[in-house]
């Protein structure tokens, strides 16, 4: 396959075969992660800048690890986490990066569209590491990798995504991709976090988790931002957990060997019980490993590596 992308801003830019291609490319990358010497010379001399404007240990470290294994020089730009408006504008940051001739930029930002904004200004490729409530394509890709590996495929599988759908870039990117890959997706959450306009995604939405669980091959929990309670979006953690909290008991209602995904970090006892998070069906740690592999594959493809020369 001819890889034609320089950026990855959202999952909808990729066709189903392109998504499959990234996942395919990630397979040997994952093997590599288990080797004693985890280092390739593939991207030696290339530079990657990580611009994380929001707190994120997991995604940032994942990109950093992925880039370093491939041999690229990875620079973490320390960005003030408190306020995006403080100091240098994103436009000037882009100019600075341009002047440094960075080859690839990964950005995480609280504003929807920040990655697209940067891509417009830069010659370098841009990976969206999460922008506002808009998109998180690499999370979606690693979720697809996990689903495919564990379920043997995605087409025809029933995936239930539960939680704060309204504010979730993970849910948006997952739904867009899962639809392309032929999965049946159901979104579940309380009306305040799953308002009617989310119908734009064109998948089933429901307020009743227990009714949607039967037949689910995978359930994906989303992190609940606890400050949403202060804004009145849900009345209490107690009631939220009663209605939407994922437990082993509840997951048994699927009638299948259902796997559990969560983008992390988890709120134990809120959207997910501790015993379920630590159980065998939980993919949470596996997702972290897969995240590195998928990001390696993506970085490799975006930086112009030939399709079949990955590990030669």
């Amino acid at each position: 396959m001819e890889w034609r992308h320089r950026n990855l801003l959202d999952i909808d830019e990729l066709t189903a075969p392109e998504i499959e291609f990234v996942l395919q490319t990630a397979l040997p990358m994952k093997d590599l992660l288990t080797r004693p010497i985890k280092k390739l010379p593939t991207l030696r001399g290339k530079s990657i800048a990580l611009m994380f404007y929001e707190n994120s240990t997991r995604t940032r470290t994942s990109f950093e690890t992925a880039g370093k294994i491939l041999g690229a020089d990875v620079t973490n730009f320390s960005v003030a986490q408190s306020s995006v408006n403080k100091g240098e504008s994103l436009y000037d940051t882009a100019k600075t990066l341009q002047a440094m001739n960075v080859d690839l930029v990964v950005i995480r930002h609280a504003s929807s569209g920040a990655a697209a904004f940067l891509a417009e200004q830069l010659k370098a490729g841009v990976i969206n590491g999460g922008d506002g409530a808009h998109a998180h394509p690499t999370q979606a890709l690693l979720d697809f990798f996990t689903l495919k590996e564990r379920l043997g495929g995605i087409a025809g599988k029933k995936i239930v995504i539960v939680g704060d759908i309204l504010h979730s870039r993970v849910a948006r990117s997952n739904v867009l991709g899962l639809k392309k890959l032929g999965a049946e997706v159901v979104l579940v959450g309380p009306p305040t976090l799953l308002p009617p306009e989310m119908g734009y995604l064109g998948v089933k939405t429901s307020y009743d988790l227990d009714r949607e669980l039967p037949g689910a091959d995978a359930v994906m929990g989303l992190r609940l931002q606890l400050e949403r309670q202060e804004r009145g979006l849900f009345p209490s953690v107690r009631e939220y957990h009663q209605l939407y909290g994922l437990t082993s008991e509840r997951l048994a209602k699927t009638g299948k060997d259902t796997i559990l995904l969560h983008p992390g970090p988890i709120n134990r006892g809120v959207e997910i019980s501790s015993e379920l998070a630590d159980s065998a069906c939980s993919m949470i740690e596996e997702q972290v490993t897969n995240g590195v592999a998928v990001r390696m594959a993506l970085i490799y493809l975006l930086m112009g590596g030939g399709p079949s020369r990955v590990l030669d």
């Binding site: 995006v84 408006n85 504008s89 994103l90 436009y91 930002h109 609280a110 504003s111 929807s112 569209g113 920040a114 697209a116 904004f117 417009e120 922008d131 506002g132 409530a133 808009h134 998109a135 309204l166 870039r169 948006r172 308002p195 306009e197 989310m198 119908g199 734009y200 995604l201």
Partner: protein, 442 residues
């Protein structure tokens, strides 16, 4: 003195629409004829001249001649934010766009809430010598929504209306008292209807498109509930209310009901709400970021219907200049506002008049006659004896919108780099030529 010949005269105030001539002596319209061309002898007699050489003749063939437009909603940013616009640059941009009178909103820094500041705006407008600049003074001191301003004093300084435009007055009692107290002045209170808690930190209209883009949405109710509140308060108090930038179908319904009940209420629509919808919003084009946000398709249809059936009374640009730096940001962080004075008429002409959705007559009624009447301004008509505030409009003139040709200091328009059709080619304010061949004179 001059003689504009053979133009298509439009003056809904007098029911005029047809080929004719217009004579101007000094600063006033002297004679208007429709259907019959004036003879040279008549012209000389009327103007009191001996030869035609003393009379400037303007060929109006193929063009419309209508009263200078009156824009009831303009942000000139001076004092305090001159990097965005100045009174002078705004007044120049106005005439270039066909507006001979503009109402300058009070949300400057400092807020226009004292007589000295009102007079500053008025005098700067006079010094600019282009469009007539009418100050709108704040309703509350410092626009804090608490204490009323000295409205009588402000009117004496030149204010023609009161508004805290830029934000809604959240306290209903304050707004009720404003409607009552403004009766001392006879001036309308202009309400920027936006319920702050509902609007939240939204960046565009709440709906499927905001959900798709992951942008926080502003529900239509953020506007409509306050339109309803203010209409009820105007009915109860008998105050004079003008609703700024109506953008939802529910607002239109409420205004229709209020008017049927006899409330002293008028309402305006901004061209961009008629020309774009929330579907046009993209994450990387902040020139579509405006407040109230671009409406849904159904809202847009209701707005046009309201303009046609008389529920909505005027068009107004809500000219809101912002610098390139401010707008060159991710969508959620960029300021709200569209720069409108120099493109609004052409855009409405091209998209609504040419396409048959709005007649030229109704256009002039909405943008000249009605605003002049509502705010008690001179102009807005071609009546004999009225000030010669005139626009000679070429419906065929095509022009590329570029930063270089513009008079406004800012260029935050969705039309930048696009060609529009239908522009004022000559404009007079008080008989003085201020635009000639699309260029501002002087």
């Amino acid at each position: 003195m001059f003689w504009i010949k053979d133009a298509h005269l439009l003056d809904p105030a007098q029911g005029i629409s047809g080929r004719g001539s217009l004579l101007v002596r000094a600063d006033r319209i002297l004679k208007v004829t429709v259907g019959e061309e004036l003879t040279a002898a008549t012209v000389l007699t009327l103007l009191g001249c001996s030869t035609l050489e003393e009379v400037t003749q303007v060929d109006g063939a193929g063009k419309y001649l209508f009263p200078g437009l009156v824009d009831a909603h303009v942000h000139l940013r001076e004092p305090g934010q001159e990097e965005k616009e100045e009174i002078r640059s705004g007044a120049r941009a106005a005439v270039r766009g066909g507006f001979t009178s503009i109402l300058a909103m009070a949300n400057t820094q400092p807020v226009i809430d004292t007589r000295a500041l009102v007079e500053f705006v008025r005098l700067e407008g006079e010094r600019a010598g282009k469009a007539r600049v009418y100050p709108v003074a704040a309703v509350t001191k410092g626009m804090t929504g608490k204490e009323l301003t000295e409205m009588v004093e402000l009117k004496a300084g030149g204010a023609v209306a009161f508004s805290d435009d830029g934000k809604g007055i959240q306290n209903a009692e304050t707004f009720r008292l404003a409607l009552e107290y403004a009766k001392l002045t006879g001036c309308p209170v202009i309400s920027h209807c936006e319920e702050a808690k509902l609007a939240g930190a939204g960046a565009m209209r709440k709906g499927e498109h905001s959900a798709r883009l992951g942008l926080k949405g502003i529900p239509a109710s953020a506007e409509s509930v306050m339109v309803a509140r203010d209409a009820l308060l105007a009915g109860e108090t008998g105050g004079r209310l003008h609703i700024a930038h109506v953008s939802t179908k529910e607002s239109v319904q409420v205004i229709r009901m209020a008017k049927a009940a006899g409330v002293d209420l008028t309402a305006e629509v901004n061209p961009h709400h008629l020309l774009f919808t929330d579907e046009d919003v993209s994450l990387t084009n902040t020139s579509h970021k405006v407040n109230p946000p671009l409406p849904s398709r159904a809202d847009q249809e209701a707005l046009l219907e309201g303009l046609l059936d008389g529920t909505l009374d005027l068009l107004a640009t809500d000219h809101a200049p912002h610098t390139w730096e401010e707008k060159t940001k991710p969508f959620a962080e960029a300021p709200f506002g569209i720069n409108g004075l120099e493109t609004a008429l052409a855009a409405v002409w091209q998209e609504l008049v040419v396409k048959g959705k709005l007649t030229p007559e109704r256009l002039i009624e909405l943008w000249a006659v009605n605003p002049a009447r509502r705010f008690g301004l001179v102009g807005g008509t071609l009546a004999e004896g009225a000030p010669a505030d005139l626009v000679l409009f070429d419906p065929e003139w095509r022009e590329l919108v570029t930063a270089e040709t513009r008079e406004s200091k800012a260029h935050n328009t969705p039309f930048l780099g696009q060609e529009l059709q239908g522009f004022p080619v000559m404009v007079w304010v008080g008989g003085k030529l201020v635009v000639k061949d699309r260029k501002v004179v002087g």
